[in-house]
């Protein structure tokens, strides 16, 4: 590296140290302190010398002196060490895990909590009287309280543990939907919903004669909020929407949607699978009637998810699954049922997993959802801008701008190259894990006119280096396949 360039980099580093870990490569010996150098700066040579001139310009304006959130290294660097699974090689290359929208990795704290549960106090909950059972019950109910506090539910009885978010949505559909919906009642959804938010309602609509109505995308390639508003009427009984789209990375204004829905007497079910893990979600602020999320997308174990429902709603809902725990008295010809949440938790629950989820929440709260969100906003922009540099790429969803934020994920297609080819090559030649397919959003893909797309999704333990590695690998992949045309 020419010395002037190094000096430029140094001066850049002085102001931008927290935001450009890539520069550490140039100056490996110093992480937090930068050697004093001249401040000579020439913008053209900066652009020539550094791969990411863009990030210099925005970070320079965005940097805050003595940023308490990150310090001199990014959140990604700091937290990576908590995730043992990330430190491995696949197919001869270092693993770069970019499939977090599908599932997240678990920190040692969660793994320990699970192990400890089974080693020290595994016992069935709510049933026993003995010491272990009591300890397990306490831990299980404490996990419930943690979830309630995490999303600011008014009481922990408003949290129903389920197997995953899909089951939670089915619970609402079969329990609330079947008993409430009448022929010609309307259920409003967007075409960008995950299959788990669409199919249960299709099933229930078939049984009840209700009608499903879908909101399309607008010109920014996010769901058309105006059209959604117009679609609402006194016939609408429930609005089922995602908070953050797992394909478009768009964020919907839930508070407003809830206001409009309540105006016409409709309930709102929020699919928060891609939001709860990444930002602070406050159900009371949102005033959502139902909200679902999965544990495994927020550093918790699989096999665990939850439904938040307002107390008065849950109290009026009939049971979903029948069995032990959800009953009060059982006779031969009928039974009476327990109060929520037990009413909806038939059978032995995934106790260890619930406790694991509690540990995950502790871990995330320890970092702070605000900090996680801010870091991910940065990553999101970095990912988007760098992906744009790939030739012939088409990224789906809204373009990030002043007031439009994207989640830290990008679904994309490269012209004339099948996403599966890209994902396969990335995995086998570069150890980069992304997803290819329809991401459980076939209606959305059909609307966009594609069969499948590739998707890279980040989480707070990813770093800008991960993005760099990914984009570099992607460029290599694209040139490999293009050379064959």
């Amino acid at each position: 590296m020419p010395s002037t360039l190094l000096q430029l980099c140094c001066s850049a580093m002085e102001t931008l140290a927290p935001k450009l870990p890539s520069l550490k490569v140039l100056n490996p010996s110093s992480s937090s302190s930068s050697p004093s150098c001249s401040t000579a700066r020439s913008s053209s040579s900066l652009r020539a010398g550094l791969r990411r001139p863009f990030s210099l310009s925005i970070s320079a304006s965005a940097v805050r002196e003595g940023d308490p959130a990150v310090g001199s290294v990014s959140l990604g660097h700091v937290t990576r060490t908590d995730f043992p699974i990330l430190h491995q090689e696949v197919n001869g290359s270092k693993l770069v895990y970019l499939d977090n929208a599908a599932t997240s990795q678990k920190p040692t704290a969660v793994l320990k909590a699970l192990q400890n549960y089974y080693e020290a106090y595994n016992s069935n909950v709510h049933r026993g009287i003995h010491f272990l059972s009591s300890k397990a019950t306490d831990a299980y109910e404490l996990a419930r309280k943690k979830v309630a506090a995490f999303i600011n539910a008014s009481e922990s009885t408003e949290i129903v543990f389920t197997k995953n978010a899909t089951e939670a949505i089915n619970l609402v559909a079969y329990s609330w939907g079947l008993s409430t919906l009448k022929p010609e009642d309307e259920v409003v959804l967007t075409i960008a919903e995950h299959h788990s938010a669409i199919v249960p309602w299709q099933l229930v609509a078939q049984k009840t004669g209700a009608v499903l109505k879908f909101v399309n995308l607008d010109e920014t390639e996010s769901p058309d909020i105006e059209k959604l508003r117009q679609m609402l009427s006194r016939k609408t009984k429930i609005v089922v929407v995602h908070h953050v789209s797992n394909m478009l990375a768009s964020v919907l204004p839930i508070e407003e949607i809830v206001l409009w829905a309540h105006d016409v007497g409709a309930k709102v079910l929020v699919d928060a699978c891609q939001s709860v893990p990444h930002m602070a979600v406050n159900v009371q602020d949102l005033d959502a009637d139902f909200l679902v999320a999965s544990s495994h997308k927020m550093c918790g174990p699989t096999g665990m998810g939850f439904l938040y429902g307002k107390r008065e709603l849950l109290s009026a809902m009939p049971p979903f699954l029948g069995g032990g725990e959800m009953i009060s008295d059982v006779f031969l010809d009928h039974s009476t049922y327990a109060e929520p949440p037990s009413r909806f938790e038939a059978g032995t629950p995934a106790i260890g997993e619930a406790i694991g989820l509690g540990a995950a929440i502790d871990y995330l709260s320890g970092i702070g959802m605000q900090k996680i969100h801010e870091y991910e906003l940065e990553l999101a922009k970095y990912l988007y801008e760098n992906l744009l540099s790939v030739p012939n790429i088409r990224i789906y969803g809204p373009v990030p701008s002043g007031n439009t934020n994207r989640a830290a994920l990008c679904s994309f297609n490269v012209e004339n190259i099948h996403p599966t080819d890209i994902a396969t090559f990335l995995d086998q030649q570069h150890g980069v894990a992304i997803r290819s397919g329809h991401h459980c959003a076939q209606p959305l893909h059909r609307y966009l006119g594609v069969n499948a797309s590739a998707r890279a999704s980040l989480y707070f333990y990813n770093t800008k280096e991960d993005v760099d590695d990914f984009v570099r690998a992607l460029n290599d992949t694209v040139s490999f396949f293009t050379s064959f045309k």
């Binding site: 099948h418 090559f425 499948a452 064959f484």
Partner: protein, 366 residues
């Protein structure tokens, strides 16, 4: 490479038998009360214990040796050797893509639902047709060029070969290519799904041909009536329809007639055991000894199969009709009876006997 040896009964499928003969005879399982002797029941090369097929055998797990390369169609062997000679992974991909590029594109009219390989990740279509010699030819296409490359491999490697050879191919050869192709049955496994579809289509083509040859149109679910020498290493989950269908058809099919190749061998024909060669005599002796039959008829019908590939070179005693009436069969299901007879004649089956047409009855049924 050692021959697959999962259980002793699989010695039936020793490596020297590369082309198990096709015997397009319908399975007939007369119900215990029906006394229709005019129907022949034939088995062909079904493993004597179907449970060996029922256990999932995944060569990929390394517990079972791979199918010997010599058992694969010659062009496929060439392709494998080519890939093995290319060491660098990237170069292997280039080779794969090169194959894909050369693949003749599939006409749009053939991109139908029946020709589509199920799986959500990429779109793959496969078309199959037979030529005049009953060899199967393939055409394929995909929107993913890696999958197209794999399709091209299969198309090039399997086209122009007899159906039974195609069916004999076990998917684990792909491991030899060194492409790190997974063998896990999943919707993401375009390669595995493709091979399966190609095999299924080959089978269907043969079934259709046979159907049109049948004198009586009552064919009981084509697939179930065909017995092919299917590779026992193949995970039965991949081939359940073929094998298990055969089993269920054996068990519940009502008397079905296929006069196909055996049309002139009715039971009313007089069988003269004096015409038997050494093998025929051995068979008769064995069955007599082990089953103490009330009735026993053994007929050498090898002359009917004299032209077949697999028979060439053997001394001619390859196909027999056997009719046994013995109380050993009392209470046993048809499958069990046939297995029993097969088990008794194992040595013969390993030394050149290709097929047995068995009528096995209990005295009460006569």
């Amino acid at each position: 490479m050692s021959s697959p040896s999962i259980s002793p009964c699989l010695r039936l499928f020793s490596t020297k038998i590369i082309y198990p003969l096709l015997s397009y005879k319908t399975l007939t399982a007369p119900k215990p009360h029906t006394l229709s002797f005019s129907k022949t029941i034939s088995f062909h090369r079904l493993p004597t214990t179907l449970s060996s097929l029922a256990s999932p055998l995944s060569s990929a797990s390394g517990s079972v040796p791979l199918q010997p390369i010599e058992e694969l169609p010659p062009k496929l062997q060439e392709i494998i050797k080519l890939f093995q000679s290319v060491q660098e992974p990237k170069a292997k991909y280039e080779q794969l893509l090169f194959y894909g590029k050369k693949l003749k594109p599939l006409e749009t009219q053939f991109k139908t639902k029946e020709n589509k390989v199920e799986g959500c990740v990429s779109q793959v279509w496969v078309r199959a047709f037979l030529d005049a010699d009953k060899n199967v030819f393939y055409e394929a296409d995909s929107d993913s060029i890696l999958t197209k490359g794999l399709a091209a491999l299969l198309v090039n490697g399997l086209s122009g070969r007899p159906v039974e050879e195609v069916l004999w191919v076990s998917p684990d050869f792909v491991v030899l290519l060194g492409l790190q192709q997974s063998l896990t049955p999943s919707r993401n496994n375009g390669f595995l799904n493709m091979l399966r579809l190609m095999q299924k289509k080959a089978l269907q083509l043969v079934v259709e041909t046979e159907k049109s040859k049948n004198l009586e149109p009552r064919v009981h679910g084509g697939i179930g009536n065909m017995n092919f020498g299917l590779n026992p290493n193949v995970n039965v989950e991949e081939n359940p329809e073929v094998i298990l269908n055969s089993v269920s058809k054996i068990n519940d099919s009502v008397g079905n007639v296929n006069f196909g190749l055996n049309s002139d061998v009715g039971v009313d024909k007089n069988i003269n055991s004096g015409d038997l060669g050494s093998r025929g005599k051995r068979i008769k002796e064995k069955l007599k000894r082990e089953l103490s039959p009330v009735e026993l008829e053994v007929e050498d019908i090898s002359y009917q199969h004299a032209g077949h590939t697999g028979v060439r070179g053997s001394d001619g005693e390859t196909h027999f009709n056997v009719k046994v009436v013995s109380k050993e069969f009392e209470g046993k299901s048809l499958v069990k009876r046939h297995r029993f007879v097969y088990a008794l004649l194992q040595e013969e089956l390993q030394s050149g006997l290709h097929a047995l047409s068995i009528v096995a009855k209990a005295p009460s049924e006569v």
